[in-house]
């Protein structure tokens, strides 16, 4: 699907309001996490709907809304080539390296 912003217009061909993905930040400094989605016609509309649906218990201090079609996801068929090579790089993790006994500051 198109990724340019004007295509992310919030309207389906059959007149249903477009789908927007909602990300909520639970507290200052925390990452934004996917919460769900809403239907809306434009960004402000999506923001308000996201607020009313996903922040009504005070579970968010910040919201992102993104047109669903603007999200590019990795394909399941990429799973092997994309992610497996990262699995055997033990030297990227701190446990790979030995620290002399008695040194605690690490």
């Amino acid at each position: 699907m198109a990724t340019d912003a004007t295509a992310a217009n919030g309207i389906d061909t059959d007149g249903q309001w477009g789908l927007w993905e909602v990300f909520t930040q639970a507290g200052k400094g925390a990452p934004h996490e996917h919460a769900g989605s809403v239907h809306a016609t434009d960004a402000e509309h999506a923001m308000q709907n996201a607020r009313d649906v996903y922040a009504r218990r005070g579970e968010a201090v910040s919201l992102w809304v993104v047109p669903a079609e603007a999200i590019i996801a990795s394909a399941p068929s990429d799973a092997g080539p994309f992610f497996d090579p990262g699995n055997d790089k033990a030297y990227r993790h701190p446990q790979f390296y030995k620290v002399p006994r008695g040194v605690r500051v690490f």
Partner: protein, 321 residues
């Protein structure tokens, strides 16, 4: 829905791999390969669940304007609103399977899709607000706690969120019941009468006995369901009997007795003929429920169109500028 483009193995190898993933407890995500039957079963089950939340707003919504205190009024609005939210979460989850909410709503309105039988019973007194929270939400929690471990990721995640939010529903219902139980004779009578009406329909919520449940085996194999209808029903009864005793309410089943060997409360015969009548569209309120949803949908059409038209104009303005 994107279909795999590089199918190198045949269908049965894919199914075997899929089932192996499920057996290993992995969760299935929207773009993963899945058998068409799995996808359709999920759509059926998830949309039924979403519809139940939406239709479920009506019996309780019926008493929002009559709630007898401001505190009760607020908690009832909040609870019915949560049901709208939960319907919305599950519809969103269903949309990841490649079917629009639009289409799902159409299926509800034209009678192709089903929803929980319990919401076809009328709410006749304020005590029903307590008993629905206690029984119906209690039953829903038993169901949903298990569904939160379902194999389809978006469904399971929606359930986790819903379970968290629904914690207050059952408590507010039971609190209403406990308050009535400690109230005036008229309040106690109102409570017992509501319990009498809702007990058996609540037990029917878990669906027919597994021997008569056409979809159970497959749903269990693919971990869309994790427990049988009968197991869940028994669990609900075991939880509820002591709660009833605690507030001095009688459950309307003379056959209810504790079996010390199985640690279960045994119960009487469920009237499945009634259940199938209600599911088949002949419950006391089926027509009213669908008519109310249809009216909201029709009355809202010009509003939805206006928002669409306005957004279209805004975009044209931006592009022209």
């Amino acid at each position: 829905m994107e279909q795999p483009t590089t199918v190198t193995a045949d269908e049965s190898a894919l199914v075997a791999a899929f089932e192996a993933r499920i057996a290993a407890g992995e969760s299935i995500e929207p773009k993963d390969w899945m058998p068409e039957r799995y996808r359709r079963q999920l759509i059926r089950m998830m949309s039924q669940h979403a519809h139940s939340e939406i239709v479920g707003m009506l019996p309780e919504g019926n008493w929002i304007t009559r709630a007898p205190s401001l505190r009760r009024k607020m908690s009832l609005i909040a609870k019915v609103q949560d049901e709208a939210g939960h319907g919305l979460y599950i519809y969103c989850g269903t949309e990841t399977l490649g079917v629009d909410r639009h289409e799902l709503v159409a299926q509800l309105l034209d009678g192709r899709a089903k929803y929980s039988s319990i919401f076809n019973y009328p709410t006749l007194s304020w005590a029903d607000m307590g008993v629905i929270g206690w029984f119906v939400d209690g039953a829903a929690i038993v169901n949903q706690t298990i569904l939160a471990k379902a194999s389809y990721g978006p469904y399971a995640r929606a359930m986790v969120r819903i379970c968290k939010e629904e914690n207050f529903h059952k408590r507010q219902g039971y609190e209403i019941c406990a308050t009535l139980a400690n109230g005036t004779p008229a309040q106690r009578e109102m409570l017992q009468e509501a319990v009498n009406r809702f007990w058996w329909p609540s037990l029917m919520m878990f669906g027919p006995s597994d021997t008569d449940s056409p979809n159970s085996a497959e749903l269990l194999k693919w971990r869309v369901k994790r427990k049988t209808n009968d197991e869940l029903r028994q669990r609900f009864i075991n939880l509820t009997v002591p709660q009833a005793a605690a507030i001095g309410v009688t459950l309307p089943d003379p056959d209810l007795r504790f079996n010390a060997e199985t640690n279960n409360w045994e119960f009487g015969e469920i009237d499945w003929a009634e259940f199938f009548q209600v599911i088949g569209g002949n419950g006391p309120c089926n027509k009213e429920r669908i008519a109310a949803r249809q009216k909201a949908h029709d009355d809202g059409a010009w509003v939805r169109e206006a928002a669409t038209a306005h957004a279209g104009k805004q975009r044209r303005d931006v592009q022209a500028a």
